[in-house]
């Protein structure tokens, strides 16, 4: 339940209890559509299913029926500097199934209408920038000349 070293267990030792886990679970939008009672998290690759269940039930009081985890390979891409291949870190993704009475839907953070409106604004700004750079060309060889003179 933590990235710190655990004390080695010998027969007769007390049950290990971690009161301040330093793991963080990130709630994400599921990469593929899920049933309504499933929530998706990115967790530390060191966390086990038991860790995830205890984390949610003891700290956040979220009932958990079942957990499925898998380690997703990080994206491989070309470096912008040298053109060689670099790989992002692997991450563990957990699909938590809650009892049917609980539902969760990840909020739509980027609704399509707003995205389209923003894109439109950006395009308009780009057009204005293009016009401005054309206008500058008129007085390229006359530095300091005010722009409100004609042509």
């Amino acid at each position: 339940m933590s990235t710190r070293f655990y004390p080695r267990y010998h027969l007769g030792n007390p049950q290990l209890r971690v009161f301040l886990p330093n793991f963080v679970m990130k709630l994400i939008k599921p990469p593929h559509p899920q049933p309504p009672n499933v929530a998706t998290f990115i967790v530390s690759t060191q966390m086990t299913k038991f860790d995830i269940q205890n984390y949610l039930e003891k700290i956040y009081k979220v009932p958990v029926a079942s957990i499925k985890t898998h380690i997703h390979m990080g994206e491989i891409k070309r470096s912008k500097v040298g053109g060689y291949l670099i790989k992002d870190d692997d991450y563990k993704i957990a699909y938590i199934t809650m009892p049917k009475t609980e539902t969760f839907e990840f909020p739509d953070l980027y609704p399509t209408e707003k995205e389209e409106a923003m894109e439109k604004e950006m395009n308009q700004i780009k057009l204005l920038q293009k016009d401005w750079s054309k206008k500058i060309q008129q007085h390229k060889h006359r530095p300091g000349m005010p722009s409100w003179f004609g042509a």
């Binding site: 593929h32 049933p35 499933v38 029926a65």
Partner: protein, 576 residues
């Protein structure tokens, strides 16, 4: 066995394969065929859009399968598009999923009918005709059943530790169920359909079908999104192959199928409430795997007893399911198990009667099942009304299937030194009624099979029939291939496919650009190198290779071996 048995096969198959070519070369008639008719005979106007073309291709394939004469040929044709097997959903009855309720009902198009009280969930009135007779037979059976329970469940007679280990518990239940069957079937020995029946112990029962209306996953969407022709079909629902498995303890087979519970115009069979849409099955926890389309029922085609009277199942899987998900989830797990098992059993029977995943039923098939751990019993009746669930039929089908599941009942309360306490004679009567329910002979039981129904009636020669049958058995055997499927390793995907970092390496692998580039997913079952016939044992010196497997003609010679050289003269080569 001879390598090449006879020009007789060659003659028959050549004329069957390319009759017009044969006629063109050898049969030039002096009288021409009339080209004129009274009214213009226009060909049908076809929709040339991609969606319609794909659907037409599918329909043609389905039509070809429907027209094949025997079950073996149909199964081989169903497997023909995929040499390495279909990427199919593993739909096992003993592995229910906590999220799987809706998907199970959608995938089998089944409405679950659970009634409170009365017959305990079983269809009211279905057993009325046999119930009185069953109740008179119960006293004959009670003593033997009590003895059997005492033998199997009394704690001082079974040799094991305090806690039952899983295998012991499973064997105990199976022994009890087989023993119970022997007791009941022995008592009912004079009943004609029981006397004539066959028993399958732990048969392998699997069924294959296509399920439509499934949303495509992100990789499939990418393949369509980047091309102008297919961009608009990016979100079209697709068909997924499903491989269902049922694992009964025993099945009792009889000649005639059980009568229908409800007719096809009943609202229960036409307009029951079902889930309208589903997500990708992997979201519910199911997994895919590569496997040939396997449909087996515990007997091969040609058996006289083609319908099952009763299936008995083991409740052993529920133990670990309850440990993981709690007692409340037990009923859901049981429901999923009976649904998947019953549908698989019914569809497997339907396929062996000539219907199947692409051939619609003409009459309903009814299955009776019971699931138990010896003490706790659940009885069920399943009516299969539709077997085709591909394309739009998963959602738009005029009919749906029905499952009746009873409440849980105990056969006995406890076993003590004195004997068995609280034997439930009413449950015993219901089980005997299930045995007594008589089947109904149908007038046209196999409309999609040839009247003889057997492969040995096929006109091809004996060697072809034998080889085709063993080929069919190999495909459905679940045996792993000796040579592994071609696989692209992860390093190759990174350094050769996604990022080309090895420009001067010669392209030798199967996925690389060269003359022999192959896509394993597109390789057909008949796409294999043919075996060479050595010159001394050839009957015809120009036919160098054996024929290739073919679903209609069983085996057929490749065209170019016959066309490039001249046809052997039938009159001259009388040595064969």
């Amino acid at each position: 066995m001879s390598v090449y048995s006879g020009g007789r096969c060659l003659q028959v198959l050549r004329s069957q394969k390319c009759p017009t070519k044969h006629l063109r070369q050898y049969n030039k008639s002096a009288v021409g065929v009339s080209e004129y008719t009274d009214t213009p005979q226009y060909p049908p106007i076809l929709d040339k859009s991609k969606r319609a073309t794909w659907q037409r291709r599918k329909d043609t394939w389905h039509h070809n399968i429907n027209n094949l004469a025997t079950v073996e040929q149909k199964m081989v044709e169903l497997n023909m598009p995929k040499y390495y097997g279909y990427w199919s959903l593993r739909f096992k009855d003993v592995q229910p999923n906590i999220l799987g309720d809706d998907f199970c009902r959608y995938a089998t198009r089944t409405h679950i009918h659970e009634e409170e009280g009365g017959g305990g969930g079983l269809p009211m009135g279905y057993y009325d005709d046999v119930r009185p007779q069953a109740e008179t037979l119960v006293p004959l059976v009670v003593d033997k059943v009590e003895q059997l329970i005492d033998l199997n469940f009394s704690s001082n007679k079974i040799h094991r530790g305090d806690k039952p280990v899983r295998a012991t518990r499973r064997h105990q239940t199976e022994n009890f169920l087989i023993g119970l069957h022997r007791v009941i079937a022995g008592t009912l020995g004079s009943v004609p359909h029981i006397e004539d029946s066959m028993l399958d112990l732990r048969p392998r029962v699997e069924a294959f079908w296509f399920l439509g209306g499934i949303p495509p996953d992100s990789m499939l969407k990418k393949t369509k999104k980047n091309f102008t022709d297919t961009k608009e079909y990016e979100n079209d629902p697709i068909d997924r192959p499903i491989q269902g498995t049922s694992s009964p303890v025993l099945g009792l087979r009889v000649t005639d199928g059980l009568p229908e519970v409800v007719p096809w115009d009943d609202p229960l069979a036409t307009s029951a409430t079902l889930p309208e849409s589903v997500l990708d099955p992997r979201a519910y926890g199911y997994k895919f795997g590569k496997k040939h389309a396997t449909t087996v029922t515990g007997f091969w085609p040609g058996e006289r007893q083609e319908h099952t009277q009763l299936w008995l199942h083991n409740q052993d899987f529920l133990h670990s399911y309850k440990l993981e998900f709690g007692e409340e989830a037990a009923r859901d797990g049981l429901r999923q198990k009976m649904l998947v098992a019953s549908f698989t059993q019914a569809l497997a029977h339907a396929t062996y009667l000539g219907f199947g995943p692409v051939t619609e039923l003409t009459y309903p098939l009814v299955q009776q099942s019971a699931i138990s751990d010896g003490q706790h019993w659940n009885l069920s009746v399943y009516q299969l009304n539709t077997s085709t669930l591909h394309s739009h039929l998963a959602q738009d089908n005029p009919r749906n299937n029905i499952l009746w599941l009873s409440e849980e009942e105990k056969l006995f309360e406890a076993v003590e030194d004195g004997g068995v306490k609280g034997l439930n004679t009413s449950l015993l009567a219901t089980i005997i009624a299930m045995y007594l329910k008589k089947g109904v002979p149908r007038e046209n039981p196999t409309p999609y099979l040839a009247p003889e129904k057997r492969l040995h009636q096929h006109p091809a020669c004996e060697e072809y029939r034998e080889n085709f049958l063993s080929f069919f058995h190999d495909v459905l055997s679940n045996r792993p291939r000796a040579r592994l499927d071609p696989e692209m390793y992860l390093w190759e995907k990174i350094y050769k496919v996604d990022f080309k970092t090895r420009p001067f390496e010669s392209p030798k692998r199967f996925f690389e650009d060269h003359y022999n580039k192959m896509d394993p997913g597109k390789r057909r079952l008949d796409d294999y190198p043919l075996r060479y016939i050595p010159k001394p044992i050839r009957k015809n010196k120009y036919v160098k290779f054996r024929p290739r497997v073919h679903s209609e003609h069983l085996y057929i010679y490749d065209d170019h071996f016959l066309v490039k050289r001249h046809y052997p003269d039938d009159e001259k080569d009388k040595s064969h």
